[in-house]
Subunit: 362 residues, 3 copies
């Protein structure tokens, strides 16, 4: 055999058209991570989010301001201007804008043109993250803001990092909903050979896509073996729940325990990772990550060890997804087809959901 | 407030459509600076002007030749060929072209194909500049050639320089017709805070757009204070006339004097700058500048000092206009709007004029 | 004169539309060089051929395998995967593919989806070259495989090299069918001034385009003078046959002899060059070259000398054709015209043939 028969390719292409991909418009009516809290200060910060140029800063009172990064006079980026008394002063002709995006001063005349201003964005800061509502401010839906209590409680020790991903955010979500790739893409970091073939359960309903996998018994890779002390061959249980929560967040929760000990005597070690993709362009993504654990919280050396090891693995995704995106870009549309297998159930449902969300808000 | 209401944005977008921008076709029926005189020699010089590849050289008799930079045989750039006896010999198959663009020899046969040749351009050299008529030779309109007597008289000491601007030439003209930006974009070079709010007068008629500004009293920045010796706080008058003369030239004329002296006793110091933008592509521009003064003409150290200081300021425009162009490129068309203020009167009129010129010669 | 009159330009543009250029679709139903034999091993090799991403490797039994370089599951390039037991294991989710492109294992489930696989390509290895049939395997036409006996016989000593050409393969064929360019583009390497004006004969029939040129007497450039020992001024005969054999191969055969010696006493030295262009994209080409001679076969220093000298000349083509391509890209379509001269007869016929082949297989 070689290429699949035409009717098969036609059917695969029809199925793909019902799933979001890099050609799908962005979903503006939702919350995304705009920045880590520690990135926003009295220095103007420029970032492209969902294709829009945004300038961010922190007011004297500590509030995060996010405005369209383009002077409404002659289109100079506001981010190359100066911040004075919570106002941005445009670098070109000195127009001043307040925290609401209103023009409040035009140096060459005594008044500002009526209704001159730029789009402002609603933001919300919690723990290490600054969230932004990318739709109109009046439509900001607070019920959509992801709950992430563990990011702000002392019960969890966290660290965070950023990667620039040269791929669509859709493909990152897809990646996270099929962790069978751990055995291959992450064979040298946090994957193990038994991962891909372990039994899994799924939960699939609108906006809620989960894969659960109990890998028992298994052997832990160093990133988990060192912190938990469960170092023996086939000594460990690795209980994973990987959940799409919104276009902007996917949470992976894992419990580890020593499966050679009686249930009542064994401690459980829990880790969580918030994967936080914010689209930059159709084929590039700001990839924010917060990682945490609920044990040995005060051990900063352990925090550093886990952070370094995990980012080796996450960078394997960044490399791989960029290679995937390049292959997609290179393939003529009529020759592009993709087969789905059983393990793709949650990601296929998720991509259909993203497409329907995107089309409903156009 | 945030974003302006839709009807306001609609009105702004309608107004913008009547002004030239980087989507506007080039105006071919006019003269542009092709090069500085000292750039053109018996070495072939390639340069893209108004999107056209041009090759230039100086004949043995000293005349400047400008031809389409593409062999009409197999499209090799003529500029990579050789110059022999005032003829270009193509690097590929040796076709020879005379100064009129006619093919006069084909090495592989005894005759040239009838009417084989390339477009030639009319040029005119005067002082430091080589002008080129970008339309058909037969339509060359000598009455449009800008008069610039001060560039060739000994009464004025001049220097000149070149910058490559990653922005539309339209935006450079706009920049030059609203000098309120001196107080901001040039705050650290030749701007002063009082400049933006100084009263101004304008002259607006077809092809003639002028802004005049008397900043009195003011304090001169070093680039002017040093040469004139008018160094005191609030001691100076700065009388500026900024004039669009053609798509290819904008002239800024400034007089300085000590406003603490009686009118009859004070000397007047005059400087002039010819800003000479020649479009390269829709979003890049050859930015030629000639600067002159009518005092201390023999003082070459002063010439060098002023030249260096001025090019610091001009490069601030080059940086800023590229940032503006990038913001324009990034903004989705339906989200792009620009407010104009009173000080934009001349530049708005100028941009309307450029658009009408461009459309009339299509 | 300047630009040709409009009717002439119209006629030239009409003529050009009947010839292949970089806008012409690729000709898939033919054999192309995919790689040199020594490039393909048990390391996966990725290469874009005719716009298609291809992965190649050599099986344990030594057979060359060529597959579409895109996993049919989620589009990861197969070339970043691993080779295990002649199977490619995808780097992402571990799907395995056999040498026929069939998916034979999906780690997360017990069976593979029906007919899951990727396009496979027929290859043929002979001497230093690996040929690939870029059309469907079932249409592979073995009669089209170019015969090149001299590449595999000990009578000929050969060397080979690769260049990446930033130009259409059409323009490389054109280059090779009009060797009058030797006197100009290669004036400093293997051209001589008398070459361009030497008489020539042609053979033109479908798929067969030949130019023959006897340059007698002539002076040999060092690349030929050194190996043959024919070093005198006007002492040499240079008998050239330059033949387009297929879209993938052009063969240049040259005989040299000392024309001052009687016919019976003089030895003849023969060299051959297989120019092997394989389109990468519309405007870039894999340029493979094999060069050989039928004398002093065991002299490896001579092989090295000739190889180095020849690649200086071939790189002059690579540089020149990229300049030509850039000029073509820069010229507005309505201003593009090309004159043909007598020496273009074979190349014009060849380009018409390529266009008709391309259109007939759409």
């Amino acid at each position: 055999m070689t290429l699949p028969p035409s009717p098969v390719i036609d059917a695969l292409q029809s199925a793909s058209k019902k799933m979001a991909d890099r050609h799908t418009p962005f979903i503006f009516d939702d919350w995304y991570v705009a920045a880590f809290s520690d990135e926003v200060s009295s220095q103007l910060l420029a970032r492209t989010l969902l294709g829009r140029g945004i300038v961010m800063y922190r007011s004297a009172a500590g509030k995060v301001v996010a405005l369209e990064d383009r002077c409404p006079h002659r289109s100079m980026p506001l981010s190359v201007g100066a911040l004075q008394d919570d106002h941005i002063v445009c670098a070109y002709h000195g127009m001043r804008f307040n925290t609401q995006g209103d023009c409040v001063h035009v140096p060459s005349q005594s008044t500002c043109p009526k209704s001159m201003g730029v789009r402002t964005y609603v933001t919300f800061e919690r723990g290490p993250l600054i969230w932004i509502w990318m739709g109109p401010p009046e439509s900001a839906d607070w019920s959509r803001l992801p709950e992430q209590a563990w990011l702000t409680t002392e019960q969890w020790a966290t660290s965070h990092g950023y990667m620039h991903l040269k791929a669509s955010y859709v493909r990152l979500h897809e990646n996270l909903l099929d962790l069978t790739h751990l055995s291959f893409l992450h064979a040298k970091s946090f994957g193990t050979p038994d991962y891909a073939s372990a039994a899994y359960k799924t939960e699939i309903k609108p906006g809620h896509f989960v894969v659960m996998r109990d890998v028992v018994p298994t052997t832990l890779p160093p990133v988990w073996a060192e912190p938990t002390g469960i170092k023996g061959q086939g000594q460990a249980a690795r209980i994973v729940r990987s959940a799409f929560l919104s276009p902007a967040i996917h949470e992976v929760s894992v419990s580890f325990y020593d499966c050679t000990l009686p249930e009542k005597e064994r401690p459980t070690f829990r880790i969580r990772t918030a994967h936080l993709p914010t689209p930059e362009t159709a084929t590039s993504t700001h990839y924010f990550v917060v990682h945490g654990r609920d044990f040995a919280q005060a051990d900063s050396a352990m925090t550093q060890f886990m952070h370094e090891q995990l980012f080796v693995a996450f960078n394997e995704d960044v490399t791989g997804l960029a290679q995937q995106e390049a292959a997609l870009a290179r393939t003529p549309t009529n020759e592009l087809y993709e087969f789905s297998v059983g393990a793709d159930g949650p990601s296929v449902a998720m991509r259909r959901y993203l497409l329907s969300r995107a089309l409903s808000t156009l």
